[in-house]
């Protein structure tokens, strides 16, 4: 019923997470009524993001143009402590809490046996490689407080304990069941301070 190009755009929006067909049509019609140069800002922002955003070769967080991310490039950050998070957005939450001065590692997901997501699908081999030379003395597991996050933390603890002096997990305090993304800075700061050794 809609002309082809408009229908294509609606279909593309509808593939985005959290966007249903009604919202997809709403966004497409908004852009249809928007002046041409404004609409093109959006398309060039998407193109530039895809062209220039890369993953940091050390911590797998987002970086620019194949460079190290700002944190890995900053030699004031303590290289002996790595905070492991599932998602770059979780890294930002921990940064905002201001209570962590070490480095990060981003897994890009959590282990989810029910979805068939195993260690190979995450940046776990990269993390293992980082702890080989003995510089890292503590790995803090800052995974989501849900079953996936727990599975990931228990697996990493089993994998890393023979190689790292201390493997800790952030204290409960981040509400169970919620996404780390929604944790406030105060709570997360306390959870980091109250981290404890993980048995496995």
């Amino acid at each position: 019923m809609y002309p082809g190009p408009l229908r294509n755009l609606i279909d593309e929006f509808a593939r985005l997470p959290g966007i249903g067909p009604k919202n997809a049509a709403r966004l497409a019609f908004f852009l249809l009524r928007t002046p041409r140069d404004e609409a093109e800002r959006l398309s060039s922002a998407i193109r530039e993001m895809k062209e220039r955003t890369t993953f940091c070769p050390i911590c797998c967080s987002v970086a620019e143009g194949g460079q190290l991310c700002p944190i890995c490039a900053d030699d004031r950050r303590d290289p002996s402590v790595i905070c492991v998070v599932q998602d770059p957005r979780d890294l930002m939450v921990v940064e905002r809490s201001g209570s962590f001065a070490g480095r990060y590692h981003v897994l890009h997901g959590g282990l989810s046996p029910l979805e068939g997501i195993g260690p190979e699908q995450l940046k776990i081999a990269e993390l293992e490689a980082r702890v080989q030379d003995g510089v890292v003395t503590e790995v803090i597991l800052c995974t989501n407080p849900n079953v996936e996050g727990d599975t990931t933390a228990l697996y990493l603890s089993r994998l890393l304990r023979p190689k790292v002096a201390k493997v800790t997990k952030i204290a409960a305090g981040v509400p169970v069941g919620g996404d780390l993304e929604y944790a406030d800075e105060m709570t997360l700061g306390r959870a980091l301070e109250g981290r404890r050794d993980l048995e496995a």
């Binding site: 029910l114 979805e115 068939g116 079953v147 599975t151 228990l154 981040v174 496995a200």
Partner: protein, 241 residues
């Protein structure tokens, strides 16, 4: 039915939109039911961690014209704290949830499957029980409940009393040397299987891991995958754990 009030186990959980989740419940008396839990991923959600996978809860769902209900209230009955802190128990329980999700039918009451699932999760949560054979026992019992239980006392092809040396689900179970096909099975594994399915499951689950136990676990996985005619994601993705 507009209002559904029942006890249930959370089988699956998929993120939806900004902060919601679609949950799949196996209810005690209403079969498998899907519902949305609104705002459950927010830190201050009224549901807290009560709607996590494997939790046993009392739920109140509103079901309008659509198939997908909306969770209105959830009270925690059992959060299985031991499962949540032990990788082998956690991955074992996940495999059981995956199989249950495959076996259960939407809106078709199956109180026996529900009771088996609850018992199985309680076993995984009991620190005195060794987790290795809890899931395999559940798989075999689920096959028995569906009328597909394997013959384990005599040869499934010729009825010969034994010795039984092989296992093939398509042939009906254990097989004698003359009828042998499928997978070879040790005499220890045959005895273990007979005790497990012959009323001695509780004592079997208190015994330490053994080679025969690994054999029986592999048989159970093969049997349930054969019966469901699909590979289990959980078993594939946790082989290197």
């Amino acid at each position: 039915m507009r209002q559904l009030d029942d006890e249930a186990v959370v089988l699956r959980s998929y993120p939806l939109g900004e902060a919601d989740r679609i949950l799949v419940f196996l209810t005690a008396n209403h079969g498998k039911v899907r519902a949305v839990a609104k705002g459950v991923r927010r830190a201050k959600s009224k549901f807290g961690g009560r709607l996590e996978i494997s939790n046993r809860v009392h739920v109140n769902l509103y079901r309008g014209a659509k198939e997908l209900g909306v969770v209105q209230q959830a009270d925690l009955l059992d959060g299985h704290p031991t499962i949540r802190t032990d990788l082998d128990r956690l991955t074992g329980a996940m495999a059981v949830l995956e199989v249950t999700d495959q076996l259960a039918q939407n809106d078709l009451p199956d109180p026996r499957l529900y009771q088996m699932l609850v018992g199985c999760l309680e076993s995984y949560d009991d620190p005195s029980m060794v987790p290795t054979l809890i899931g395999p026992a559940f798989f075999f019992k689920a096959l028995v409940a569906d009328g597909m239980g394997p013959e384990i006392e005599v040869c499934a092809r010729c009825g010969n009393a034994g010795p039984l040396v092989a296992f093939a689900l398509l042939e009906g179970g254990l097989l004698c040397d003359g009828c042998r096909r499928g997978r070879s099975v040790s005499i220890d594994a045959v005895h273990l299987l007979q005790r497990m399915l012959g009323g001695h499951l509780r004592s079997v689950l208190h015994e330490p891991d053994s080679l025969a136990g690994s054999e029986v676990a592999a048989l159970a996985a093969e049997a349930i995958e054969g019966a469901l005619d699909r590979r289990l994601k959980t078993l594939r993705s946790t082989t290197n754990f």
